[in-house]
Amino acid sequence: MLRLRTVPPAIAAALGASIAYAGSLWLVLLHRAEGGHEHGEPALLIHWVRDGTLAAPGVAAAAWLGAALAVGLVDRHERLPGRWRSALLAAGAGVAGSIVLAAGSPVHALLFDAQEANGLPASVHLGRDALIALGAGLPAAGVVMALARAWPALRARIAATRAGAAAPPVADAVVPQPAVEAPSGAVTRRAFVRYGAGGLATAGVAGATLARSSRPARALVATDRLELFVNDGHVAMVDGTLVYMRGFGEAAAGDPQPSLTIGPQLFLSDGRGPVASRFYPLVGEDALPEEGTPADAGIDPSGPALHVIRRRHWASFFPRRTIVAETGSTIRLQITNRLAGPHRFTVEGTDVDVALPPGEAVMVDFAAPGPGTYLYHDSTDAPVNRVLGLHGALVVVPADAPWTLDGVDGEFERQWLWLLADIDPDWGRLARMGVPIDPAKTPSVPRYFTINDRAGVFSVAASPDEAENRRTKEDTKPSGHARTVDIRDVRPDVDPSLGTGQLIRMLNAGIAVHQPHFHGNHVWTIAVGNTRLSRSEPTVVDGHLRLQHWEDVVEMSPLDVKAVMLPLKPPPDALPEVRAAQACDWVYPMHCHAEMSQTAGGGLYPGGMVSDWILKP
């Protein structure tokens, strides 16, 4: 029934090529019209030639089998006229070739990251594509067979012309027929069907979904320590996109409302803690800055729009993920890893580095390190888990001088913490599927950039959520009344009649180098990596001059920690006349100079790492 030699290899190859290229062209055109696409999609011509060429061998084999099967079934005894026999060959080749061409769609999707856009179930999609390919493949096969039938006559005419004699008429030329029977080992229809089905099944496996796994934690009771949970879940970005993230949360909760961060917590030198409080020091309500802005203490008559400020009075609000500890306190944690894989709790710049086995709760006690700002994070597969969201800030303040950076320098009116982070949805997707992430093979390409977990309209306090805007003003947007300030000398023992600035602690938990850039005034950089810089004795570290200095762009490499003082004074280029006439707030942008970080989702501007600082007139 199936004798391959009834179809000469040359005819089979021509049939296969014609069906492959004609069908591919038709399918590429239609899928484009439907909106289908693939990663780095080439131009139409290249797309068609590539797909047709890749499909040609398989389609040729199928066309050969199909043609042989058709004549074996219908015209085993070669009784049909040559014209009908040719049509039969074209039909068999067309049907088989079209089916194989359509069945190659899953392989095509795998190879080229192609996405179909018709929403059809796979089986219906395959059937539809086979029919559509047949619509183009059958005419192409018909043309091939017509040419094959005409070829002997044409060749004879050419030979005759060359010989100088007229070519004899050729009536009803036929396709050359085999002289021998198929060997016993020839492909049978049953084998053809079996192998074809196996190929389809193999292609279908590629679509299997990998499930994310997590396991419940053991229930433990803790009263005098801060409970953290290593959780995972999806977090909405500024454009509404949901991204898989991990985090140190305050409750054992996953999707759809995962707990991935903690509210600010205090550990005090008198042994109290954890104390849940958004502000520090624990002062009365009269010392809480309204919408984050410390009120003035009167008008400074020395200049237009100048004020006298209250020193060592105001509390400072801190963002989520913050642990504030006074020197001399002990930080007591109980961390439960609710995920399937191992994680760690590491405090950068200290010797705190604890393993967190899956499903277990681990007690972590350590004395507050020296005054400064520390990044706590999961150092497993660094920077992967840190970028996935397992990070936060530990702020250590001098217990006896809470309005200074370290008890010696940097007295501030109030302080701020900026935790910079980058979010890569592709890493999140891989992590959700349980795929190991090798940053060397899959470099991070962040699409979202945050300050204190906010971006765009949220980090400038202009979102539709007024409660969130208020929190942003309290813990992220520096603001205060204009005052006379010599920021270069804000030691507590210097002239107390001078105003001070506002301290901004910066940490970069992300993977990109960020450069917060301040409009209006420069900032005075006091400390790098929790080392207070000298005011007069410069040092060189890694080629960088280390000295307290003015700068308007603060370079923040991954894991960097810096402390800068923002002088809340009228900018130097603001004329007294302008200052006298200014009746509303002076709002100055702060944005990162790493251009991509100003966007969200690959282009939504300004949806990234942006904020403002505000000078009250």
């Binding site: 909106g35 067309g94 856009a117 929403g119 047949l134 059958l138 898989y244 759809p256 501007y605």
Partner: protein, 162 residues
């Protein structure tokens, strides 16, 4: 046998031709072919019920499109959670693909939350699209699948008269 094959080929050719011609310059969209606007998400069906393209002077362009005419594409969806549990959901999971780039919906509402078990949600999405483009694909980031779902919206010529 030859008649059957010819019939099938004719049907395939007609189907292909209809797919191409169905992407006509209609302001109100129609699916390219039956069932094309249905997608099966990991939690249940996502069905596009209507697509409209509006030429609206309110969409005069943003930071980088000041010199580019834009339209508003409105997509009406019906989403059903057929699982026995809540699933995270945000209208921001939908994006519109234009060639090799995707764009986010404007004024996404409701805020990111979750779809309750058995709940049916009617979702209205609005996208600002360049007036020069006419073929769109809706992309849904299905959290239960390794890759986003895509739904062809077909082709809608610009609604602008100018």
């Amino acid at each position: 046998m030859l008649a059957v094959v010819l019939l099938l080929a004719a049907a395939g050719a007609a189907m292909g031709a209809r797919t191409l011609t169905a992407h006509g310059p209609e302001i109100d969209g129609r699916p390219p072919f039956r069932g094309a606007w249905d997608a099966r998400a990991s939690f249940g069906p996502v069905r596009v019920e209507r697509v409209r393209r509006l030429g609206d002077s309110a969409f005069a362009g943003g930071h980088h499109t000041a010199d580019e005419r834009v339209d508003e594409l409105r997509v009406s969806l019906r989403i059903v959670n057929r699982l026995g549990r809540r699933v995270p959901y945000s209208p921001g999971q939908f994006r519109l693909r234009l060639g090799s780039t995707t764009i986010t919906p404007v004024r996404p509402n409701p805020p990111p939350d979750a779809l309750a078990a058995g709940h049916t949600l009617r979702q209205e999405l609005a996208f600002v699209v360049p007036a020069r483009r006419s073929t769109y694909t809706l992309v849904f980031d299905d959290l239960g699948r390794p890759r986003p779902l895509t739904v062809a919206l077909g082709s809608l010529a610009s609604a602008r008269k100018d």
